[in-house]
């Protein structure tokens, strides 16, 4: 009896502590939210909205509205919805391709030893530490040369942009390989005894067991690509192909940050990630190694 009360009180305590942390963590997010409903385009740091209005949201969503002061119809010249779709498309495709490359490479590293494996591993993670900002000129030139041979991959194309993002794979290869290493060797051995081919082991056994980590990588890549504005701003000029993050920068100029619209754009931009996470949560939390092999 006492044990149960003790357990319950610990549970409630931990819940409260978590709630407290959550509120602190979401504190700035609250400000961003109320700023998006503020009509005077300033950052609201009081606790409530001063002038409530949906104008910022209408601007972002491409709905015309009437400016109350000048009585003119305001229509955003920026096709935010198109940019939003572009970003989602690019982020998902990149994440999928990264997963493809990562899992294959991680499996190769996990299962086989070959000449130069150690050095390959080391160079994978060390060379990626080079600040990518400085490599932009090189990538720009690469894509522009590539574009003259293969128009699909040149500057100002989504394919070229996705290609650039594939530079983040080495890190995730490490991550995936680490996860593979935690899969008990006995499973793999059992499969080999059963006469499975390498690819089957990869596809039917390792991948499903590694699902939680694959979900994590998908989300991480998606977020990184979706929020990135440096690379698309340099590589893409066609307004129909721009991404959402670059578009948001429109609202920031030296003196005049249009906070309201910026905040609304941010919330819109955060939605896909939150939705993806909510959907994929259940894959994240299944203990899939349960009972598969008796140790």
């Amino acid at each position: 009896m006492l044990n149960r009360i003790k357990k319950k009180s610990i549970a409630i305590c931990s819940n409260l502590i978590l709630l407290f942390f959550l509120l602190i963590v979401l504190y700035p997010v609250y400000f961003i939210m109320i700023t998006s409903f503020e009509s005077s385009d300033t950052l609201v740091i009081e606790f409530s909205v001063q002038n409530f209005s949906l104008d910022n949201w209408k601007y972002i969503l491409g709905i015309d509205y009437i400016n109350t002061v000048t009585q003119e119809v305001v229509r955003s010249p920026y096709p935010f919805i198109i940019w939003f779709k572009n970003s989602i498309k690019i982020a998902s495709i990149t994440a999928a391709i990264v997963l493809f490359i990562c899992t294959l490479a991680a499996y190769g590293l996990y299962r086989f030893t070959f000449f130069g494996k150690k050095y390959f591993l080391i160079s994978l993670i060390i060379l990626q530490m080079f600040p990518s900002m400085m490599g932009m000129v090189a990538l720009f030139l690469l894509l522009s040369k590539l574009g003259t041979f293969f128009p699909w991959f040149g500057l100002d194309t989504h394919a070229g942009l996705i290609l650039t993002y594939l530079g983040m794979t080495p890190f995730f290869i490490w991550l995936t390989k680490s996860y593979f290493s935690t899969i008990p060797k006995s499973i793999v051995e059992a499969a080999m005894i059963d006469g499975c081919k390498e690819f089957t082991i990869f596809y039917s056994i390792i991948l499903p067991l590694a699902l939680p980590m694959l979900v994590v990588i998908f989300i991480l890549v998606f977020i990184t690509v979706f929020s990135d504005f440096v690379i698309p701003s340099i590589l893409i000029k066609d307004p129909k192909l721009l991404t959402f993050a670059v578009g948001m920068r429109e609202f920031i100029s030296a003196y005049d940050i249009r906070w309201g619209k910026f905040a609304a754009a941010t919330i819109l931009g955060g939605l896909p990630i939150v939705i993806i996470f909510m959907i994929t949560q259940k894959f994240l939390v299944q203990g899939l190694t349960k009972g598969s092999v008796k140790e």
Partner: protein, 397 residues
């Protein structure tokens, strides 16, 4: 496997895009609304000459222009302020331009001045602007004519979460008029002569310091918080809690949206001397790699330099048109009359911001220097001496 093929199809289909037509003249602007207006102005030109002028919104326009030049690509025209001329010319990225004499005499000399470098014209100016004193008419009936009067008035207003006078003191663009009133020059006749640590400059900087840190024993209130910046100033102005600020016409739409009844006046004099601000001018630069220079010239002279086009651009940006006829038309328009008049004196007497390459270093260095001075982290003379050292060093590159 199926998923993989599906992905491949998406991949391929996104890459198949039609390439642009050959006769395309690209313009890069950083403001999307301006790009939209330029495209609309270009419609009749496109029809007549069977070319396509398209304005694209490009953030961080100048840096992008430079990066693209490395790869042999880039736009035909970029739209930017005049102060970047030095950098662009010295990198060989833009070409000098000619304006037909009949058009040229219609342009305000100060705008042409701004785009002249080493004696040649390197861009087509289309507007200009400067900062002035903007005040809340509800709180101030008659704007002060001298700075001494202004500070006294400001003292009365600064209490209970209200301020009498705010402006971004650490931003050299805003505090330059005060330096000018103290007769401080930035670049002397000799290239090595930077006048920002002269005795008069020290006086000017001390004067500015007194806004955030009133001299001991003067009994004055602190007029401005130590970390006053542009956003703070605007926030108080918009909520009606600020009596006077120094700002440019770009801020007027926000004031209107917040229903502030504002007035514009020249920056008050200091000890009888005029505090003239920098004049900034925006214009069209032509890339050296462009093969359509004459078409661009025709477009700008015959389509952009028309009154209705310039007036449209004014309504969006609030920067005064550089063509005299358009300017006068706006002055006669009752809606914009007061705004333009409030800004007018500096156009005649002011000088453009220097467009030499070192100017960027001046702004950056003075920002740090002034913030150290106004927070009393360093003595005025030491900070200014150091600033001049850094500027001199950067000008040697």
């Amino acid at each position: 496997m199926k998923v993989f093929f599906f992905l491949c199809i998406i991949f391929v289909s996104t890459s198949l895009q039609s390439k642009a037509e050959e006769k395309e003249i690209t313009l890069w602007v950083s403001n999307g609304n301006i790009a939209k207006i330029l495209n609309e102005i270009a419609q009749p030109f496109n029809k007549k000459y069977k070319v396509t002028i398209s304005a694209a919104t490009v953030d961080n326009t100048v840096e992008q222009f430079k990066t693209n030049a490395l790869g042999g690509k880039g736009p035909d025209v970029i739209v930017w302020a005049h102060d970047i001329i030095g950098t662009l010319v010295e990198s060989g990225l833009i070409t000098s331009v000619e304006i037909s004499p009949s058009v040229r005499k219609e342009i305000f000399p100060v705008a042409l001045d701004a785009f002249t470098y080493n004696g040649k014209l390197y861009g087509y100016p289309y507007n200009f602007e400067h900062i002035a004193l903007i005040y809340n008419k509800k709180l101030i009936k008659i704007p002060p004519k001298t700075f001494e009067e202004l500070l006294k008035v400001a003292q009365n207003f600064t209490k209970n979460d209200h301020y009498g006078f705010l402006f971004p003191v650490n931003d050299f663009y805003f505090s330059y008029p005060i330096f000018k009133a103290f007769d401080v020059y930035i670049f002397g006749p000799n290239a090595r002569d930077i006048g920002l640590n002269s005795k008069r400059a020290i006086e000017a900087a001390t004067y500015i310091k007194s806004f955030t840190i009133p001299p001991k024993g003067s009994g004055e209130k602190t007029l401005m918080p130590i970390d006053v910046d542009y956003n703070t100033m605007m926030r108080f102005m918009i909520t009606g809690k600020l009596a006077m600020m120094i700002n440019g016409a770009w801020s007027l739409p926000k004031l209107q949206a917040a229903k502030i009844d504002y007035g514009i006046a020249p920056i008050p004099t200091i000890r009888g001397k005029k505090a003239l601000p920098f004049i900034g001018s925006y214009g069209f630069y032509v890339s050296r790699m462009s093969t359509h220079k004459i078409l661009i010239k025709t477009f700008i002279e015959n389509y952009i330099y028309q009154d209705d086009a310039l007036i449209r651009l004014y309504k969006e940006e609030r920067r005064a048109p550089a063509i005299k006829t358009a300017y006068n038309k706006l002055k006669d328009d009752p809606i914009y009359k007061a705004d333009l008049e409030g800004f007018s004196n500096a156009y005649v007497e002011g000088a453009p911001m220097p467009n030499v390459r070192t100017m960027a270093s001046v702004f950056g260095t003075m920002k740090t220097t002034l913030s150290l001075i106004t927070r009393d982290k360093e003595s005025v003379s030491q900070a200014l001496n150091r600033a001049v050292d850094v500027i001199k060093k950067s000008s040697r590159n």
